[in-house]
């Protein structure tokens, strides 16, 4: 019988299956961070349980860490306690952790791939919905709750029921100035935030296989914004080259054996997909969100929608609510929307290629006087690489702040946040109400579009700024 990649990974990880399909799956890789793990460790202690496979878990603090000078530690008392709690839990249970001053520290979904901890064909989980990012390596990666984090720590397994298969084919070429961020925003706009609920998505097609591994991560990362817990891409030579010689990648004979297995991991001809859609690169333009849900997308040459044109009462109410929150009028051209801040970073777009893309636009340019802009590299290693390439100078000379790595203003748990009413062009993944700070207004864009917005002071079309 022909199987999809998802079917194959599922079948190979089955420890036990009940008659009703409820299954116990083995977890190969577990990532943890400070926000969703303390209650799991507390649960272990209360029940006198141990961590079954401490070496299969990797920890890092990313959500609460300051992105400014870290030599003084964390000033926020609660954030400090949470980060210290992760440290002490890891010490107590024998789990490897990258501390705040370790240059390998960074956003959990950036450090996993960077270290070679993320590998094809594995099941990877983390108490974080953007775990889907790791699917770019051909792994089954998804976010879990804290009770499940505790379950994985105690048993190295997870209780799951199988999802359905959904394939999204993207063929053709991407026009200049259009990126994988625009591809995924367009997909979410098309399927809606619940379009993938109950499915695992496989992204396929020549446009996807022509993307770099990092650009694929951006697509898989936002799979959850389309409702699917996991999105994955068939691993290929680009993935193997990316992983070769990474600190935690297999070595010598193990590498050869792994490579043989990884090379054969693909969806069989004729495998069943319960749902399938097709997109073509030529139809994709630079995208921006106008509302408070990632499905509220419009092309950069488009206009803010008018609720009068909507017949479905739920959708109409939802547009009205979003417009009110966002402080926008219907039918305004999105390029006339003035912004106050720009944020470049996050697990969606905080990798070296994202920074290069933004720096390319910003080179020898200044950002608008009224705009505050910052770059938060996804990890210490991304930061180091960017500095070696001189990208930090380009950002600083144009008027951006150059920060320390972490989640930062993607969710504003640390000091980096929008003030009420402030409007931000952001390379992050969620434009929910209050996401970047109470009353803050977020427009999701690609790194190049964020750079263009910073220069112009309005949301703007990156295609005008190609150096």
């Amino acid at each position: 019988m022909p199987y999809t990649i998802y079917d194959k990974i599922w079948n190979e990880h089955l420890v036990h299956e009940q008659e009703d399909g409820t299954s116990l799956l083995f977890v190969d890789r577990h990532l943890i961070h400070e926000v969703t793990s303390p209650q799991a460790f507390e649960g272990l202690r209360n029940s006198n349980r141990k961590v079954r496979q401490p070496k299969l878990t990797l920890a890092v603090a990313d959500h609460n860490v300051p992105t400014t000078d870290r030599t003084k530690g964390i000033s926020d008392k609660e954030s400090k306690i949470q980060v210290e709690t992760l440290d002490s839990n890891c010490k107590e249970f024998g789990i490897q952790i990258f501390g705040m001053n370790d240059k390998r520290q960074g956003i959990v979904h950036i450090i996993g791939p960077e270290q070679g901890f993320t590998q094809p064909g594995t099941i990877i989980v983390c108490g974080d919905s953007h775990t889907a990012t790791h699917g770019a390596f051909g792994s089954l990666a998804f976010g879990i709750g804290t009770s499940e984090v505790e379950h994985v720590l105690a048993t190295q397994t997870l209780v799951q029921k199988k999802s359905k298969n959904f394939r999204i084919n993207v063929n053709g070429n991407l026009p200049i100035g259009v990126t994988s961020k625009d591809v995924i925003l367009q997909i979410i706009g098309k399927i809606g935030t619940a379009g993938g609920t109950g499915y695992v998505i496989e992204y396929a097609g020549d446009l996807i296989s022509n993307l770099s591994v990092e650009n694929r991560m951006t697509i898989c990362n936002m799979t959850i914004e389309g409702g699917a817990r996991a999105g994955l891409i068939q691993p290929d030579q680009k993935v193997f080259d990316y992983l070769k010689d990474k600190p935690m990648s297999p070595k010598k004979e193990k590498w050869d054996k792994a490579l043989e297995y990884w090379s054969n991991l693909k969806s069989d001809e004729g495998a069943n997909f319960d749902k399938e859609i097709n997109l073509n690169g030529k139809d994709i333009k630079p995208m921006v969100t106008w509302g408070t849900s990632p499905q509220d997308v419009v092309t950069i040459d488009g206009k803010v929608p008018n609720p009068k044109n909507e017949t479905d009462p739920d959708k109409k109410n939802s547009i009205e609510r979003s417009l009110k929150y966002m402080g926008l009028n219907s039918d305004v051209s999105v390029q006339d929307i003035k912004i106050d801040k720009v944020f470049i970073g996050s697990c969606t777009n905080g990798r070296i290629e994202d920074l290069r893309e933004a720096a390319k636009i910003l080179k020898d340019k200044k950002i608008a006087n009224h705009v505050d802009a910052m770059v938060v590299p996804g990890s210490g290693l991304v930061k180091e690489k960017a500095e070696q390439e001189g990208l930090d100078k380009i950002f600083i000379n144009s008027g951006f702040e150059w920060r320390e790595p972490g989640c930062s203003m993607c969710l504003a748990m640390n000091a980096d946040k929008l003030k009420p009413g402030e409007r931000c062009a952001s390379t992050s993944n969620r434009n929910f109400e209050g996401r970047q700070g109470r009353g803050g207004r977020t427009h999701l864009v690609s790194p190049g579009m964020a750079a263009a917005a910073a220069i112009s002071g309005n949301l703007d079309d990156v295609r005008k700024y190609q150096n």
Partner: protein, 201 residues
């Protein structure tokens, strides 16, 4: 885990679709290292103004809905972040049953780990029950019978039978999985041979 069997309460209706977990409990409250105490901050930004005063229009600030144990909401409830703080906040407020036409997967699973019953029914049934909720009268949930009883009406709902059993009996699923330790051990032994790079030791 707290068991769930029958529940009687006046339901509160929040007519918003795509309620995300950031709305249910915003990030500033995720800094806790405990599961409890989040109820006062449930729906924080809709519930309080900038000065921290209750916003009177918000349903959970109005009597008798401030005591509701049942929340009816628009479709795709609980989307976004995986934070289990969302069901913890609902539970701490006193809500142990949510009724919607659809849920985000992670939130849906998280509910069952905390003794909360998320009921899925069709949009037209949501409409009936939400209209009924304006009467401010109690409705009944019977998990065993899988039905919602309101006035002289009842609506049946479907759910996974294993999840139902875990809720009714308040089972600890870690303990259940640990009963399969031998199977896990056998799996690990085979894995070390078939995919030696996984353990990398």
């Amino acid at each position: 885990m707290q068991k769930f069997n029958k529940l009687t309460s006046i339901p509160a209706y929040l007519p918003i679709v795509n309620i995300d977990t950031d709305m249910i409990i915003p990030k500033q409250f995720l800094k806790t290292i405990k599961r409890t105490g989040l109820g006062k901050n449930l729906f924080f930004e809709m519930r309080y103004d900038d000065q921290g005063n209750e916003i009177k229009d918000f349903i959970l600030n109005q009597k008798p809905f401030s005591q509701s144990k049942i929340l009816i909401a628009g479709k795709n409830f609980g989307c976004g972040s995986s934070r289990e703080h969302a069901p913890w906040a609902l539970l701490d407020f006193g809500i142990t049953c949510v009724i919607s036409s659809s849920y985000a997967d992670i939130f849906y699973n998280n509910c069952f780990k905390n003794g909360i019953l998320p009921i899925k029914i069709d949009e037209d049934k949501i409409k009936q029950i939400s209209e009924y909720s304006l009467r401010k009268e109690e409705i009944k949930i019977d998990l065993n019978e899988q039905k919602i009883i309101f006035g002289n009406n009842e609506v049946k709902f479907e759910l996974d039978q294993f999840k139902k059993k875990c809720l009714i009996e308040g089972l600890d699923d870690i303990a259940l999985s640990l009963e399969k330790s031998e199977k896990i051990e056998t799996f690990e032994k085979k894995l070390k041979i078939s995919k030696p790079w996984i353990f990398n030791d």
